[in-house]
Subunit: 120 residues, 2 copies
Amino acid sequence: MGNAYNVMAATCPSRTVLHRIGARWTVFVVNALDNRPMRFTELKAHIRGITSKALTETLRAMEYDGLISRTEIPAHPPHVEYALTDLGRSLLTPLRAVREWAESHVPDIESARAQADAQR
Amino acid sequence: MGNAYNVMAATCPSRTVLHRIGARWTVFVVNALDNRPMRFTELKAHIRGITSKALTETLRAMEYDGLISRTEIPAHPPHVEYALTDLGRSLLTPLRAVREWAESHVPDIESARAQADAQR
DNA sequence: CCCGGACGGTATAGATTTGATACCGGTATC
DNA sequence: GATACCGGTATCAAATCTATACCGTCCGGG
């Protein structure tokens, strides 16, 4: 498809993009918002182990990059809703594949680790 | 396909697997070894911006996880060759998709960032 | 009115990870 | 010899992440 960007070049903008995708929690947020918008606390509960700070920073960065939208809903009680944008949804396909790979290859990696440990 | 692992659970082994895949440089190494084995210095030159230390650590971790193999070749001059294992090759498909997403969506993200900057 | 709790975060400090820079031993070439 | 390349280590400073505590707003109950 020959586009002009190459992640292997240190200065290429695609590098920063890949860096952002690869950031600790981005994958989890994208996967969590897969089929519906969520609120802050809902996300925090869903992605077990994330702290408020990490979640806030991840959401801010993703919003800045146009991957998610943040909407304050003035209902009673008011609350905040995070949702994938079209761009974010387009990222869903590759990231879901990564997630599925991770979930389905746990035994392979665990046995590789066990074998490496036994070696020493 | 219903496997037993869920990355959203903090204690799930798949979490550590995903963490490893998401580590700074893993994506680059997998993509670099896409169509042939490479030597240490070759990899370092190919993945612009990586330091020896980062590359060493990434390679060690990936070898431990069974994603790549490290072979010392006793030719003259002797050298070291890194190659994807079958497991590593299976990771290639999802990660190549991520790489391609990054390379093809740079303009979208840049314009989202520009728009966010203009907002303030 | 007062109390308590949920929501959506901040502030701060300590631990962990990363990166820059320098260096090193072995092999081969000049 | 002297020099250079390969495949790394060692060391230390800088950036990042985590844990923990805290905060203001809004709401419902008593």
